[in-house]
């Protein structure tokens, strides 16, 4: 295995008295696509947010290309453009057009008028006609694709995707998952918290099952979905695939 892009060791995180992460060890290789599965409250979202420093971890290390970004006081601003994140609730800026949503960070952070590149991204993901629209003029699927484009416009090496299809109507899920397939084909490193088991089985390099703040079981999708070893994995999959 080459040097991991992201490497977590002993990561713990509590909110008030509730311990959400109880010691996570994980390595993610460049170009790898990892799907985090597990029940709501198992710590998937929090783990993603700890990976880019949006939530500071209590203990443990989060190494990005070998640098511990979880060290208290570490300046995360330059790191954040290397790790994109997309949220379940899109979080587009409602007062800006789709194009301006995407163009803001490249202009302010990279000092770059990335118009050609951004227009290419819109075209590539089938949104060329929607650049001038405001978020509330777009469907949920379109908004989520704009959110992905917004993250991509910063040219991240890694993308964190937090249940990005959970808030969508079922018929809109496909168009967003297609975007992820294309990113995978581009070789993007991705960590994806998801409930889309079929999708995870289809495209993931590795599936991580989380339960009560720990990694309960991990492996290739074939093995996890066809022959889960742990009883709680079996129970979770049974409940979700019933």
């Amino acid at each position: 295995m080459p040097d991991p892009r992201l490497s977590l060791r002993g990561v713990t995180k509590s909110f008030d008295d509730v311990q959400v992460l109880r010691g996570i060890d994980m390595d993610i290789a460049p170009g790898e696509m990892v799907c985090l599965i597990g029940a709501s409250g198992s710590g998937k979202s929090t783990l993603l947010r700890c990976m880019n420093g949006l939530e500071p971890v209590d203990n443990g290390e989060v190494r990005l290309d070998g640098v511990d970004i979880a060290e208290p006081g570490f300046d995360l601003t330059p790191i954040r453009q290397r790790i994109g994140i997309v949220f379940q609730s899109f979080n587009l800026f409602p007062h800006m057009t789709a194009y301006d949503n995407v163009a803001l960070a490249p202009r302010r952070v990279l000092g770059e008028d990335a118009r050609a590149r951004i227009e290419a991204l819109f075209s590539r993901f089938g949104l060329a006609d929607h650049m001038k629209k405001y978020p509330d003029q777009l469907s949920g699927g379109q908004q989520q694709r704009v959110a992905v484009i917004r993250a991509l416009a910063m040219r991240p090496q890694t993308m964190l995707l937090d249940e990005i299809t959970s808030a969508l109507d079922p018929e809109l899920v496909g168009e967003v998952l297609d975007v992820l397939r294309r990113l995978r084909d581009d070789g993007m490193t991705m960590v994806l918290a998801t409930h889309e088991m079929a999708f995870a089985r289809d495209v993931a390099d590795r599936v991580v099952f989380m339960d009560q703040g720990v990694v309960a079981e991990e492996g290739t999708p074939e093995r996890i979905f066809s022959a889960p070893e742990r009883e709680r994995t079996q129970r979770f999959l049974a409940s979700i695939l019933r």
């Binding site: 880019n52 949006l54 601003t77 330059p78 954040r80 453009q81 994109g84 994140i85 949220f87 609730s89 979080n91 587009l92 800026f93 409602p94 007062h95 803001l104 960070a105 302010r108 952070v109 405001y134 509330d136 003029q137 917004r150 993250a151 910063m154």
Partner: protein
């Protein structure tokens, strides 16, 4: 019934539409009649009151109206001018105070305290007192003309009070923006400053437009308080006419002139808000 609705879907009015149109006509008729009735009652009954003649002569004297109108209109220009140069100062300072109160940098903690004290202080002091205190007090320290002008220090008093109010309005607007917006901006690598400037503030300011419009209407009226320290604006001019003519009609004229500005201004703000909403749905 099915046949009816089929037939009507193309060229004929549906039963539902016909019913609604009838209901609407009925509602309009009732509204019209009741409005006319109330107006008639006011127009016919009020003059029957025993004191009406005296009140009419004191408050609604047509001759006085015509005589004082041009002078009051001229005096109103001063109100408009004071208002116009106060508003940018109020919003600038209000924004600065709101941001000072919202900052979390420990090094800037004194600024935060200052913001809190400022808001408590200047919202708590009656505007009139501040107008006197600043308008007479500060020039009394020994400033030379033109820097002791009541126009300057009266404006300062208005700015102090209203920026405290606006600061609170803006802060409530900023706090009403969901944390996920900030998170999204921070995760894109935007600095705190850019996040505030490009993501939070534009949304916050838009959200508090109605509250700010109310503030501006109140400010337009409070501009008249500057007359206490000398400037002859519309209410003072009306007061002068009142003393001169022993008649209150000049105040009625002033009220009419005020309404001519504040009513369209509020309506225009409503229109802007609606247009903003319509454009995005």
């Amino acid at each position: 019934m099915a046949a009816g609705s089929h037939r009507s879907s193309t060229d004929q009015v549906t039963r539902r539409a016909a019913y609604e149109a009838q209901q609407k006509r009925r509602a309009n008729l009732i509204a019209g009649v009741s409005t006319a009735l109330v107006l008639a009652l006011i127009v016919f009954l009020v003059p029957l009151a025993p004191g009406w003649e005296a009140v009419r002569a004191s408050f609604f004297d047509g001759e006085v109206f015509v005589r004082v109108f041009p002078d009051l209109l001229r005096a109103f220009l001063l109100d408009v001018a004071i208002f116009a140069w106060s508003v940018p100062l109020i919003f600038g300072l209000g924004l600065a105070i709101a941001l000072a109160r919202g900052n979390t940098n420990p090094a800037l903690f004194p600024l935060r305290i200052f913001g809190a004290v400022y808001v408590d202080l200047f919202r708590g002091i009656p505007v009139v007192l501040l107008v006197y205190l600043v308008g007479f007090g500060i020039p009394g320290l020994g400033l030379a003309r033109p820097w002791n002008s009541p126009y300057i220090w009266g404006t300062v008093a208005l700015v102090l009070t209203y920026s405290a109010y606006i600061a609170e309005v803006l802060r409530s607007g900023i706090e009403s923006i969901h944390a996920s917006q900030r998170n999204a901006a921070i995760c894109l690598g935007l600095s705190e400053r850019d996040t505030m400037r490009y993501v939070i503030l534009p949304q916050a300011i838009r959200r508090v437009v109605p509250a700010n419009m109310n503030m501006l209407v109140a400010l337009q009226k409070d501009v008249a308080l500057l007359s206490f320290i000398g400037p002859v604006e519309i209410l003072r001019q009306a007061g002068i006419f009142k003393s001169l003519l022993a008649n209150f009609t000049p105040y009625v004229v002033a009220a009419v002139i005020f309404l001519c500005v504040t009513v369209p201004a509020t309506r225009y703000a409503d229109y802007l808000l609606n247009r903003d909403r319509d454009a995005r749905s």
